[in-house]
Amino acid sequence: MPRQPLVQFQVDYLQILDENGRVDAALEPSLPQATLLQIHRCMTLARLLDRRMHILQQQGRMGTFPSCYGQEAAGLGCVLALRPDDWLVPAYRETSALFYRGLPMKNVLLFWMGLEEGNYWSPQLRVLSIPILIGSQTLHAVGIALACQIRGSDEVTMVFFGDGATSEGDFHEACNLAGVYQAPVVFVCINNQYAISVPRCLQSHSETLAQKAIAYGFPGIVVDGNDVLACYVAAQEAVQRARRGQGPTLIECLTYRLGPHTTADDPRRYRSEQERLQWEAKDPLKRWRIYLEQRGLWSESQQLELERELLAEIDAAVRQAEYDLAHADPLEMFDFVYAELPPDLAAQRREAAEHVAQTDTVSASARR
């Protein structure tokens, strides 16, 4: 018996709306007009908020935060495929998708202003807390999907993570477990080409990230992540597969972070302006606007009107968030550790209370 081929695999690439706004009519999904406009609104809001947060951060009114500039399409495109009762497990750059899902802007602001309140929203959103530990959320998504599977309900869980996250053991264990149990979960890798300064080619020697699915026995696909339609179509397929009990899918969305990793980062240290410009030409918003205009759904004046409206909303949200921040009680940090405050921790809370109250006077004495 000679050496024999045993198994063979293939990973596809999907693009529907190209960089110049040309659509592949054969593949174009039919989405309601209201949805097309809502997509535009959410992407525009994410971009405008990103800019505003940058200013707030420079004014010291907000902590360092990760920009989503350039990546507004990928997460949103995928989330379009979910039902409202499906679960969404975000990473930290899917602002546009969260808005589509109904998350109040104030939450995003509070989160980056350093308050746990930023993660407190309606349970009906079925959106999990924003994770900081890279890759960790992939496992929680699999657990949530298993809960749905065990209960016999048909909700699907979609989880987002970056190219960097695929290097973590957690990602591996999540994919492997999802494969073994055929969990109804969709893994969406937002490959923005960098993990802070480390380029995609140093993150893994694999030709694509989507092919990592082969290791777990489920399908993977690469899509143009700046193309809302391709993301939606790939996600739709994956969600349906999951809902039918046919197990997980890995979708790799190719995109680019046009801004810095966070406001503390200087991308010029690790990438060329030329590279950035190449990707700027593939801007998902520009492309989407052409698409809407070609379909007669959008005009310059509508755009101006929308931006005015959104800026006003942002102003209002910032005011609310800063009000909440100013009125946050520091001692509440004790109140959500356990369902009930254990006696010794209650004593520590009292101890802290003394000092929070005293701080002014005593620190005045320290300054004497």
């Binding site: 746990e116 993660n119 407190y120 530990l133 929680h140 657990g143 809960a147 957690d170 550790v337 006696p343």
Partner: protein, 326 residues
């Protein structure tokens, strides 16, 4: 009432809770078909089916991670880590993620899960099958840690842990899995998390321990009472985090002397924390330094040397004597 060893008592708790609450699911390496390498989950697969009792790949971070997800979505996962040392592979998932969902989401999300694990040494097991990592959890606020010592409380505490709204690490002293039997009632019994138990009362010295070493402590107390003409109060912590400081402090106020026994390495162990609390709350009642009889600050040795590592009755007796004679 039936006489049960700890394995049987725990199995009984799992059966009853699974029957009572269909949100309870049990999983881990070899827990389903094999019934667990120590047989704690034996028969559950047969009784509750493969949706609620399932085997996992060798994937500890995965086990804790999906358990977290299951709990976030409203289930009541009771997962098993095959030996508690392998919890190290999942400390990030437990200590940074599961333990903090409630606080990071300001109560929107919570993680009512139980992580069971055979724990501790003394059974001639391989390297890394003997760890006592309980003190580490004290530095992971948001989790609770329970360590039973005998079958009856083990059962009642496991029930409480499953019903607890927060993540509980439930460590089972494998050395006493089958070494003793107790009356364990068939009917539901719950013992509250956070309560220590005075298992022997006395006036001259407080002997504090938890887990397998309760047996040695009780024997040492008896020997000491006879040899030194004193009475010894023995406290079984049962819950390690959050600790029942009050029971400890009241006892030490009465006895003025204290010896603490555990298998874990000494530095920054549970005994250190108990000493710190006694120092803070009743220093002036102390007639002698508090003695620690613990594992040493070395890796748990391969089993041919474990007898020299673990506390022994003579070591405990010696500490009692020195504390009394101080």
């Amino acid at each position: 009432m039936a006489l049960r060893n700890m394995v049987q008592a725990l199995n009984w708790a799992l059966r009853q809770e699974m029957a009572r609450d269909e949100r309870v699911v049990v999983f881990g390496e070899d827990v389903a078909r094999q019934g667990g390498v120590f047989r704690v989950t034996e028969g559950l697969l047969e009784q509750f089916g493969s949706k609620r009792v399932f085997d996992t790949p060798v994937s500890e971070a995965g086990i804790i991670g999906i358990s977290t997800g299951l709990a976030l979505a409203g289930m009541r996962p009771v997962c098993e880590i095959q030996f508690s040392g392998f919890m190290f592979n999942a400390f990030h998932q437990l200590g940074l993620m599961a333990a903090r969902y409630r606080s990071r989401s300001r109560g929107l999300y919570s993680v009512p899960m139980v992580v069971r694990a055979p724990w501790g040494g003394g059974v001639r097991a391989l390297e890394l099958h003997n760890e006592s990592e309980e003190a580490v959890y004290a530095q992971m606020p948001g989790v609770k840690v329970v360590i039973p010592s005998r079958p009856r409380r083990a059962r009642a505490l496991l029930v409480a842990s499953i019903r607890d709204p927060d993540p509980v690490v439930f460590l089972e002293p494998k050395r006493v899995y089958r070494s003793l039997r107790e009356e364990v009632p068939d009917e539901e019994e719950v013992f509250p998390i956070g309560k220590a138990e005075i298992v022997r009362s006395g006036r001259n010295l407080t002997l504090i321990t938890y887990g397998a070493f309760l047996q040695e402590c009780l024997q040492a107390a008896e020997l000491a009472e006879r040899d030194f003409g004193v009475t010894i109060e023995v406290i079984d912590l049962l819950t390690i985090v959050p600790m029942d400081t009050r029971t400890i402090v009241e006892s030490v106020k009465k006895t003025g002397r204290c010896v603490i026994v555990h298998e874990a390495p000494r530095s920054c162990g549970i005994a250190a924390e108990i000493i710190a609390r006694i120092n803070e709350q009743c220093l002036l009642y102390l007639h002698a330094p508090i003695a620690r009889v613990t594992g040493y600050d070395i890796p748990y040795p391969f089993f041919a040397r474990e007898h020299a590592y673990l506390p022994t009755i003579p070591r405990i007796l010696d500490a009692i004597r020195r504390t009394l004679e101080f």
